[in-house]
């Protein structure tokens, strides 16, 4: 019978069917960070359980990390959480990439860098953006802390089989339109609950043309469409990424040859059936800017702020609440919206290609006087690479701040946050109320669009630059 990529991985990881009808799925990689794990380790301690497969479990600290003086965490509660991870990893024998490590970074950025993320595997992490790893043809899903404890104790996860949703992007993206715009467009079309209950498989020419980094951006935001996971079938671009030197956990030599032969069997069979299908013409996608407090409140940069009652999928009252919070009036052209802050970072858009794209816009230009710009690389490896290429100089010369790696202002758990009323062009993934700081106003955009807005002081259509 013809199978989808997801079904092939699911079947290969099915340990047993539980008496209650759930499937018990084996987990190949468990990624851990400091925020959602302490209560899980404590649960193990209380029940006298061990980590079943510590060698398949990898930890880093990213959410609380200051991006200026990273070794000096001033907030005692943040410090205690980071220290708890160190202690737990030591006690349970889990490999930790801590703040002294050259390989520390946002958990979803270092997984692929280290070669932990490979096609056909199952990956979980107590973080909703675990969907990022699906870019490699991996079944990767975010879980809660009870499930983190479950995987630590059993290396398995009871799951109800999700439905499958094929999203095909026909044609090619136009120049200056990015993976970020592609996925924001999808969320605008299907809504933030449009993928709930599904695993999305992205396919089509526009997806095939994306680099691994672009594919990670797309899969990363699957959760913003409500999807359990996002996936892209592996191909030569995937194999080339994994084969690069410096990925300690990736298969090598004969193992790699055997692995690639297996990975080539993973793509969905041509006649495989999906529970839902959608086709989008990629060539019609324009640069996207969110205007509200839900990632589905998104429009082309050429649009005007909508009237309540005229936004598909949102009740008039939802739109009124969002506009009130965002301090915006219907009819305002998006390109008239002035910004105070620009954040270039996060597991969505803080890989080297994102920084190169932003730097290309900043090069030789100055940030508008009223705008503060934070560039936060996704990992220490990205930071080093960027500095080797001189990108840090470009950012600093234009007036942007060049920081150390971490989650930073994406969720503002560390000292990087917006003040009430401050308006931010952000390359992150969520524009929820208060996400980047209480009262802060977030507009989600691509790195290029964020950089262009930093220079102009307001949103601009990157295609006109």
């Amino acid at each position: 019978m013809a199978k989808t990529l997801f079904e092939k991985i699911w079947e290969k990881h099915l340990v047993s069917t539980l008496p209650d009808g759930n499937s018990l799925i084996y987990i190949d990689r468990h990624l851990v960070h400091e925020v959602t794990s302490p209560q899980a380790f404590e649960g193990l301690r209380l029940s006298g359980r061990k980590v079943r497969r510590p060698e398949l479990t990898f930890a880093t600290m990213d959410h609380n990390v200051p991006t200026d003086d990273r070794m000096n965490i001033k907030d005692p509660i943040s410090k205690a959480q980071v220290d708890a991870l160190t202690k737990n990893c030591k006690e349970f024998g889990v490999k930790l990439y801590d703040l002294n490590s050259d390989q520390q970074g946002i958990v979803h950025i270092i997984g692929p860098e280290l070669g932990l993320t490979v096609p056909g595997a199952t990956i979980v992490c107590g973080d909703s953006h675990t969907s990022t790893h699906g870019a490699f043809g991996t079944f990767a899903l975010g879980i809660g802390t009870s499930e983190v404890e479950h995987v630590l104790a059993t290396q398995c996860l009871p799951q109800k089989k999700p439905k499958t949703f094929k999203v095909e992007f026909k044609g090619q993206l136009k120049p200056r339109v990015t993976a970020k715009d592609l996925v924001l467009k999808l969320i605008g079309l299907i809504g933030t609950a449009g993928g709930t209950g599904y695993v999305i498989e992205y396919c089509g020419d526009a997806i095939r043309s994306l680099s691994m980094e672009g594919r990670m951006t797309v899969c990363n935001m699957s959760i913003e469409a409500g999807a359990r996971a996002g996936m892209i079938a592996p191909d030569q671009i995937t194999f080339d990424y994994i084969s690069k030197p410096g990925r300690p956990f990736a298969p090598k030599g004969d193992d790699l040859v055997r692995a690639i032969a297996y990975w080539k069997t993973l793509p969905s069979d041509p006649d495989a059936k999906f529970d839902r299908e959608l086709v989008i013409d990629a060539s019609t996608i324009a640069p996207q800017v969110t205007w509200g407090t839900s990632p589905g409140m998104v429009l082309d940069v050429t649009s005007r702020i909508p009237e309540p009652g005229k936004v598909p999928g949102y009740a008039a009252r939802d739109v009124e609440q969002a506009l009130n919070y965002m301090g915006l009036k219907p009819g305002t052209p998006i390109t008239d919206i002035k910004i105070d802050t620009v954040f270039i970072g996060s597991c969505t858009n803080a890989r080297i290609e994102d920084l190169r794209a932003a730097a290309a816009v900043f090069k030789g230009k100055k940030v508008a006087a009223s705008v503060k710009v934070l560039v936060v690389p996704g990992s220490q490896q990205v930071l080093k690479q960027a500095e080797a290429e001189g990108l840090d100089r470009i950012f600093k010369d234009s007036g942007a701040q060049w920081r150390q790696s971490g989650c930073s202002m994406c969720l503002a758990m560390n000292p990087d946050f917006l003040q009430p009323g401050e308006r931010c062009a952000s390359t992150s993934n969520r524009n929820f109320e208060g996400r980047q700081g209480k009262g802060g106003r977030t507009h989600l955009v691509s790195p290029e669009m964020a950089a262009a807005a930093a220079i102009a002081g307001h949103f601009v259509d990157i295609r006109n630059i």
Partner: protein, 212 residues
Amino acid sequence: MKPLKAHNGIVATLDRANVDTDQIIAKQFLKSIARTGFGSQLFYDWRYLPDGKADPTFPLNQDRFKNASILVAKNNFGCGSSREHAVWAIDQYGFKVVVAPWQDREGGRVPGFADIFKNNCSKNALLTIELSEAEVEKIFKTVDAHPGLTATADVEKQTLTLHAKPEISFHFEIDAAVKERLLNGLDDIGITLKAESDITAFEKTHTSYISR
């Protein structure tokens, strides 16, 4: 996990769609390494004024919803971050049941709760009930017409009954595995460990083509 067979309590309504987990429990409270103490932090940015006083315009601060333990909101409740702290906060505030509407849309039915949130609820004996938009509208209207309205959620019978005059009862669907766990207060890890021999056998032959 404690069993939850049925729950009776006061119904509170929150007229908001897409209530995200950032809003349910703000980031500054995720720094705790404990599993308790989140109740007073629930809906922090909506609940408190800048001076720390309760915002009287926020529904849960109003007398009519004092001691409420059944929360009714709009579509796509619990979207966003996977933080289980959101469920702990709702539970520790005193809610035992959350109700949200599914929606019929082009492409199929859209669930009322986000996946990870709903999953996290099932690990904490917090009952999630999905009803149609019309049924949830009916609850909002009934609550407005009956100050202090109470309701009973019965897991066994899969009914939510509003104790209005006359009583109004809704049937809800629930995943069989979740129902069994709620009724019996089962420990998920304990269930999985009963399959220990299956896991060990699986590990002997499983190759995921990843370097170890």
